[in-house]
Amino acid sequence: MASESGKFINIKVKRQDGPDSAPYWEEFNIPYKPNMNVVSVLMEVRKNPVNAQGKAVNPVVWECNCLEEVCGACTMLINGVPRQACAALIDKIYDQTGFGKQIVLAPLTKFPIIRDLTINRDRMFENLKRVKAWVPVDGSWAIARGPRVPDREQQWAYIISRCMTCGCCQEACPNVSNKSKFIGPSHIAQVRLFNTHPIGEMHKEDRLDALMLEGGIQECGNAQNCRKVCPKEIPLTNHIAFMNKETFKYAVRSWRTK
């Protein structure tokens, strides 16, 4: 590592001063240290906000929170790939691209931009409310222990429960765009998670109804990018296929019993 002291990490950031202003690119050179991640590089920019041309500028604005890839707040495009900045280790990136190669940071493109790398993810949270992605057990008195979930269901349900609504799957999905209202892959898997839970199951019709509204599961075009980019390795395409079966069965049953 000694040979790498005195070297710089070169980053190029897609910046935007406000929701309606024009985007522009800006480069920064940060002194290299081993074991950095994209978050710590951006923190260095904040300490000394001088761009590659030596001009003092406003520090780059971004969001981060947990720093261990469980909250999703620092999701951005890193060299064109949607992923969490905290889990993007500089040395690992250089292993692939070569030491010192420029690292390009950009905000996700499927969400409104607030400033620089900070985006507005309200749409995803509103859609989680729409599909009722929770188990409704809150009451004013203690109730008995809930039913147990069989081990074979826990195995796959746990993996869905790791979803942090980071937006990577929405970013990669060609059918999530400003021309469609598709709620996106993550939310379809969430419906399966809460419809499988023995208590959540009591509201499964509500979730299936929500999944068949405008922008629902029918908007999936099977491009299958969602699964490739999911940082939590949720097999979204399998869950979408399963929910395709469930919504179809539910549609037929609703029609027959109407």
Binding site: A172, N175, Q218, N222, A223, T237, A241, K245, T247
Partner: protein, 203 residues
């Protein structure tokens, strides 16, 4: 279900592609296979088909209306997608993109195909002799084969995604097997279709 939802139309769009359009495509290729045994053979089969009662109603209900519904709504689906194959170079994403490209090629091909071989001339003998003349032009042959291959790809890849969209293939294993079957089917139907064109060009 909400009245505004497109769930029903998306499922109808998907179903029509297999029943009846996909079945018709296989039937159409099967009938045309008779050209391998000479143009007289082909003409005899087509003339027999025309003796079927209410053949115009069958054409309308089994072919024209389903194709029109599938094409019109399908063009909307093509418009809505924001393709990103250059950013996400995965096989399935390319298949998704090609499904939309071949959709548009197939629409153009079918308009041309139906005009040329159904409305401009309708007698079996005229259809075959006219087509023989056109297909001897290498450029026409290439464009015609491209249209045919686009339609065949759209059907075979569509069959694979149909199985997912209806929740028939759910797990990785079944999806992988059906992806393979869809590819083999594409090769078989592609060779079959171009073989028919080659036979007609040789008359």
């Amino acid at each position: 279900m909400d009245k505004k939802s497109n769930f029903l139309i998306r499922r109808i769009h998907s179903l029509l592609a297999i029943i009846p359009i996909g079945i018709f495509l296989l039937f159409h290729l099967s009938l045309n296979t008779t050209v391998f045994w000479g143009s007289a053979n082909y003409e005899a089969v087509i003339n027999f088909m025309k003796t079927m009662p209410l053949v115009w109603a069958l054409e309308l209900i089994i072919i024209f209306i389903p194709l029109l519904v599938h094409a019109v709504y399908g063009i909307w689906i093509v418009y809505v997608a924001k393709n990103n194959v250059l950013d996400y170079k995965y096989g399935a994403n390319w298949a998704f993109y090609l499904q939309r490209i071949t959709a548009l090629i197939t629409v153009v091909f079918l308009v041309f195909h139906v005009y040329l071989q159904r409305f401009m001339v309708h007698e079996a003998a005229d259809v075959i002799s006219g087509l023989t003349g056109y297909l001897q032009n290498p450029l026409f042959f290439a464009l015609y084969a491209l249209g045919l291959l686009a339609a065949v790809y759209h059907f075979c890849n569509g069959l694979f995604t149909f199985l997912i969209s209806w929740g028939i293939t759910i797990g990785d294993h079944s999806q992988k097997i059906c992806r393979g079957i869809s590819l083999v089917l594409f090769v078989v139907m592609g060779v079959w279709g171009v073989g028919i064109l080659t036979a007609i060009a040789g008359f």
